[in-house]
């Protein structure tokens, strides 16, 4: 709300020229125009599908690897150095290589999004598993639970907060990466709309794409936050009192 007001105000008082920053009604008109021609829907769907596919693949892979690495010393030694090395590569640097390997189809875009989502989920979940209270694991051991049962009944619930943080960061990354992926050789999608309108200097269309990205990103974040709130009610954090 504040942002929209500032935006409207700055254009009305001539802080920015209309060709630099068109006022909200103009952008709204542009959005309606795109929608009528069926382009906006097409862009949104294309981008959402890429994010959903990439995020799902990346986070599932991350969860699997993180569980394996977090739970066993041997797999940790096998995977961890490689993954840490890969992590130091700025993830966007993968884009040219992926283009070369996979062409300009959907595959490199989804892969790039998956890479973007992978690392936050992986890093957070490994940290979560490593941080599980040894004392709680010991309680389960006294009851003679098998390692797999301890993993499922103690380690998984105890590291859930970290997993959800990882997923939230991963989703943010996924939205970031999809835009970059669409800069290269896409024919539709919100990222494509951005570069395409740059060439035709249609700032209004760029702003439509930006607003859509902001809304979609925020929406994803809110959904994960709601899940977080529901499944982590047990946490004894800020503002919880104790009786007697």
């Amino acid at each position: 709300m504040v942002i929209v007001a500032a935006w409207w105000g700055s254009t009305a008082f001539g802080v920015f020229a209309a060709y630099q920053l068109p006022p909200p009604p103009v952008v709204l008109d542009a959005a309606i125009g795109l929608w009528r021609r069926g382009l906006l829907q097409q862009d949104i769907i294309a981008t959402v599908v890429r994010v959903a596919a990439g995020f799902t693949i990346g986070s599932l892979l991350a969860m699997t690897l993180a569980t394996v690495v977090g739970l066993s010393r041997r797999t940790e030694e096998a995977f961890e150095p490689t993954l840490q090395a890969l992590r130091t590569v700025p993830t966007l640097a993968w884009a040219p290589l992926l283009l070369l390997w996979m062409g300009i189809d959907e595959a490199p875009k989804v892969t790039l999004v998956a890479i973007g989502a992978f690392f936050p989920v992986y890093v957070n979940l490994v940290a979560g598993i490593k941080n599980v209270d040894r004392k709680l694991v010991e309680v389960a051991r006294v009851f003679d639970l098998r390692a797999s049962e301890i993993a499922r009944r103690v380690v998984v619930p105890a590291s859930l907060p970290n997993l959800l943080t990882g997923l939230r960061l991963g989703a943010t990354q996924a939205w970031l990466f999809v835009v970059v992926a669409e800069f290269f050789g896409a024919s539709q999608g919100l990222g494509f709309r951005l570069t395409d309108s740059l060439q035709s200097t249609r700032v209004d269309l760029m702003l439509v794409a930006l607003v859509c990205l902001a809304v979609l990103g925020k929406l994803t974040d809110s959904v994960i936050r709601v899940i977080e709130g529901r499944s982590l009610k047990w946490r004894d954090t800020l503002g919880e009192g104790r009786p007697g």
């Binding site: 004392k135 709680l136 010991e138 309680v139 389960a140 051991r141 006294v142 009851f143 003679d144 639970l145 049962e149 009944r153 103690v154 619930p157 105890a158 859930l160 009610k233 047990w234 946490r235 004894d236 919880e240 104790r242 009786p243 007697g244």
Partner: protein, 251 residues
């Protein structure tokens, strides 16, 4: 005499540091034994070994005539802290050791355990809503629900204030009357030892071994104001000091 718990010539070291040096202990079914001794004499280690959490030791530990070589359903352990699973409510915490059985029998066992510690109306509370004393009662119920023959308690009431501690000691006795497990209780509190135990076992300085065993005669229910208990407490205190002083002289 049938033995519930038998420890013979137990030795344990952490690296170069011997913690337990030839400890013998023999506990009858449903007997309550308190273990006292200076800190660092291997009291907690003794419980961890009996519980099967650590199997690197020399000597022998038998529970119900079976050699201990890992965690065993016949042995329960209550730690210094409640160690409740924060994501499970009280009822599910208590049911943890029942391995997700959810039949009438399991529900009956959980209900009985909660009743034994008088927490029935808190069955659906979350751990964060409990006071320290209540949380420790839940931990006690969780250990009792599988009906272990031997229940080990590692300074279970240490972190509680004196009043809560006394109430929990009575809760423990009530639960013991119902389940009749053998109790091995490690404690710093001599009043607690003489109020609860049939025998008080005194361990010496590290490496720990038994230096004295003091039987506590009065029948239950005991009166905390009983002068016999006060006298025993004095005797214990003297024994502990004698042990330390003899070490000082020989050292």
């Amino acid at each position: 005499m049938s033995r519930q718990l038998l420890v013979t010539d137990l030795r344990k070291r952490y690296g170069d540091l011997p913690v337990i040096g030839g400890l013998d202990l023999d506990v009858a079914p449903s007997e309550i034994v308190a273990v006292v001794g200076p800190s660092g004499c291997g009291k907690s280690t003794l419980l961890r070994l009996i519980a099967g959490l650590d199997t690197h030791y020399k000597g022998e530990i038998f529970v119900a005539d079976e050699k201990v070589c890992g965690p065993h359903p016949a042995v329960g352990l209550v730690f210094q802290e409640p160690r409740l699973f924060p994501w499970l409510d009280v009822e599910r915490n208590v049911a943890f050791g029942l391995r997700e059985r959810d039949d009438m029998l399991a529900r009956g066992l959980v209900g009985a355990a909660l009743e034994a510690v008088e927490l029935t109306q808190f069955a659906h509370a979350m751990p964060k809503e409990l006071s320290g004393g209540m949380a420790q009662r839940v931990a006690l119920a969780r250990a009792l629900v599988t009906e272990p023959q031997v229940l080990l308690l590692d300074e279970p009431f240490n972190a509680l204030d004196a009043f809560t501690r006394m109430r929990l000691q009575d809760h423990l006795l009530t639960a013991w009357t119902r389940y009749r497990p053998t109790l091995l209780l490690v404690t710093h509190d001599l009043d607690e030892a003489v109020y609860l135990a049939d025998r008080v076992v005194l361990l010496g300085e590290r490496p720990g071994r038994v230096v004295d065993v003091i039987p506590v005669a009065p029948n239950r229910p005991r009166d905390r104001r009983d002068p016999t208990l006060a006298a025993l407490r004095v005797a214990l205190l003297e024994a502990l000091h004698l042990e330390r002083d003899s070490r000082l002289v020989t050292a």
